[in-house]
């Protein structure tokens, strides 16, 4: 069997390539990156001039990388859900969704095709921002391989935010509602993963954290903190040289996961799993054989 594009991905890319939105999006993306770059540069120059006048500006240039990366991460996290949240409800509004469901496309391939096309679109932007990123790397003195890692994390993040968007899209009738709900959903995920830890700190007296941090594996923000920490300082946010936890402070699992880079990779896997679950849920919801009421479009 030949490997083929998901038809939806191909169509979506074709359609967006023809619309002005792509051009404007690219323009906006590049503008934000450029402004971030200039701002970061200005701040760095201020810093190197201020206290220790005459100190070496190049020592600070390494901060260009996190500044630009965080800007991109934020843009990706904000844009991808918008694209996918309107994906299913948009097809429903255009009344093309039913036709799609009568073809041999399985609900899962419809849903994943939508997410994939959103990911590819955002990767165009990221690719277009590469020269600026590369500059930040070179002057900041970081290894090339980190750039690859960064792109991989962006793919992961866009997968997660894309599947959150598509899940909301599957449940909401209107695109606008889906977009709003997916942002809410986003923050709920960020918040919920901190919940066990907060409860622990409030209710336990001895300061023993147990395994209450494990949920943070699913938290993309913590993942990125860890990622940057590993990249910039070569150590984990849980402390340098293995772990600063003592076994009496945290549970067995947390203690061991905080060693080396284990947390980072495991967290990536967890986030991937979460995204996959969202995709499955969206596919389940979209399948007309599963919803007994069978929502129908409003009459013209």
């Amino acid at each position: 069997m030949r490997l083929r594009w998901n038809p939806i991905v191909r169509k979506d890319l074709q359609v967006t390539a023809r619309s002005m939105r792509l051009s404007w999006g690219l323009f906006a993306y590049e503008t934000v990156l450029t402004i971030t770059f200039l701002l970061a540069l200005a701040v760095i120059q201020q810093m190197s001039r201020g206290f220790y006048s005459g100190s070496n500006v190049y020592g600070y240039l390494i901060y260009l990388f996190p500044a630009l990366s965080i800007a991109q991460v934020c843009i990706v996290a904000l844009i991808v859900p918008v694209i996918t949240a309107s994906a299913i409800s948009g097809e429903k509004e255009r009344q093309t969704f039913d036709i799609m469901l009568t073809t041999c496309m399985s609900p899962f391939s419809i849903v994943s095709g939508k997410v994939m096309s959103a990911m590819l679109r955002i990767l165009f932007f990221v690719a277009a921002g590469m020269p600026i990123m590369a500059l930040a790397f070179v002057v900041g003195g970081l290894s090339w391989s980190y750039l690859l890692y960064f792109v991989l994390t962006i793919i992961l993040l866009s997968l997660l935010s894309g599947s959150i968007g598509i899940l909301c899209s599957a449940f909401c009738r209107r695109s606008i509602t889906a977009v709003i709900i997916s942002y809410v959903f986003y923050f709920v995920i960020y918040g919920l993963t901190f919940l066990p830890m907060l409860l622990r700190t409030f209710f336990s007296r001895n300061g023993y954290a147990g395994e209450s941090m494990l949920l943070l594996l699913f938290n993309p923000i913590v993942f990125y903190e860890e990622f940057f920490m590993q990249l910039m300082a070569g150590e984990s946010i849980f402390g340098g040289d293995g772990s600063h936890f003592t076994r009496s402070e945290v549970g067995f699992l947390t203690y061991h996961l905080a060693q080396g880079r284990v947390w980072m990779f495991l967290s990536a896997a967890c986030i991937f799993l979460l995204a996959f679950l969202f995709l499955l849920a969206a596919a389940w919801k979209v399948n007309p054989m599963h919803s007994s009421s069978g929502r129908r479009r409003k009459e013209r």
């Binding site: 074709q14 255009r94 039913d98 036709i99 009568t102 041999c104 007309p288 009421s293 013209r300």
Partner: protein, 308 residues
């Protein structure tokens, strides 16, 4: 070909389709008629796997494929009662998109697209953006799209809604054409006159129930009260009216200055005898004609005259 057995669909406490059983033989051009809200679209959507039935079963051909399964979807071409378009997609690409959704290869789709566009008379629109087509063209494109995977059953939900008379004629020709090519076709519609010209069998539905179904001639036979006849009379109106009143099986519908309209279910011999009697009694006839039994009148009778 299509076997619907005891199909039921409830929306909450409302029953949209109520124990519907129907068999459509292979090669039929079947007209599915009913007033607004009768449950036609609901039935069709269940058959196409877009809606889960509350009860009953649907089967196509001799296969045991379940509704909504891939095997079933391959056998059905569905033209919905709306037309969804993407902006920025050309006719050729539109066909390619749906072809690839059936797992076909672009090269094969391209070949098929040429043939199908020729069939629906859109060959010259191949490179045109879909959203710029006229309604009639979109509808025909939709038919071409539904034929891409060579389904054995083509289901059209109100293919004529929103089309002008010319586009309707074109659509009708297209469907007749497809029928002669051996496709089994199901059309839902309110426009009965068109169905009676085109279909060879019909089913009438109301309030979610199938009232009657069968060959169109058989159904016409059922037009109760017989056929409507217009008799133009120049003089001798009184005797004409008297004869009509005496005639068994005839019912006077209206009497105007020089025309009597009667409903008469008699056979051809009885009709000629009736005319003979009028001539004998010095009634001067200037005209006589028999209305074709119309599907409309049948429809009105069966559905109790309109919407629920």
């Amino acid at each position: 070909m299509l076997y619907i057995n005891d199909l039921t669909k409830n929306y909450g406490s409302f029953t949209a389709v109520n124990h519907l059983s129907l068999h459509i033989p292979e090669g039929d051009l079947f007209g599915f008629v009913g007033p607004n809200g009768a449950g036609k679209t609901t039935t069709i959507r269940i058959v196409c796997g877009l809606l889960r039935a509350s009860g009953g079963s649907v089967r196509i051909g001799s296969t045991a494929a379940a509704v909504g399964s891939r095997a079933m979807k391959r056998m059905i071409g569905y033209v919905p009662d709306f037309f969804g378009v993407y902006d920025n997609l050309k006719v050729r690409e539109y066909m390619d998109l749906y072809g690839s959704m059936y797992g076909m290869y672009s090269r094969d789709i391209a070949k098929l697209t040429d043939d199908l566009l020729e069939l629906v008379n859109l060959s010259d629109k191949k490179e045109v953006y879909v959203d710029t087509l006229s309604r009639g063209m979109k509808q025909r494109l939709c038919v071409a799209r539904a034929l891409l995977h060579n389904p054995s059953l083509l289901i059209l939900d109100e293919p004529n809604s929103g089309l002008d008379p010319r586009a309707r004629v074109e659509m009708k020709e297209l469907l007749k054409n497809l029928h002669s090519m051996g496709k089994t076709i199901v059309i839902s519609s309110h426009i009965l006159s068109e169905l009676s010209e085109m279909c060879n069998s019909i089913g009438i539905m109301n309030h979610g129930q199938l009232i009657t179904a069968g060959k169109i001639e058989d159904i016409m036979q059922q037009v109760a009260g017989g056929k409507r006849m217009h008799i133009q009379v120049a003089s001798g109106m009184e005797s004409a009216v008297r004869i009509m009143k005496e005639q068994a099986g005839a019912r006077i519908e209206s009497v105007r200055e020089n025309e009597i309209i009667i409903l008469f279910g008699g056979a051809d011999e009885e009709i000629s005898a009736l005319i003979g009697r009028m001539i004998q009694e010095q009634v001067v006839l200037t005209g006589f004609y028999r209305e074709e039994g119309s599907l409309e009148s049948l429809f009105m009778q069966l559905t109790g005259g309109g919407e629920q």
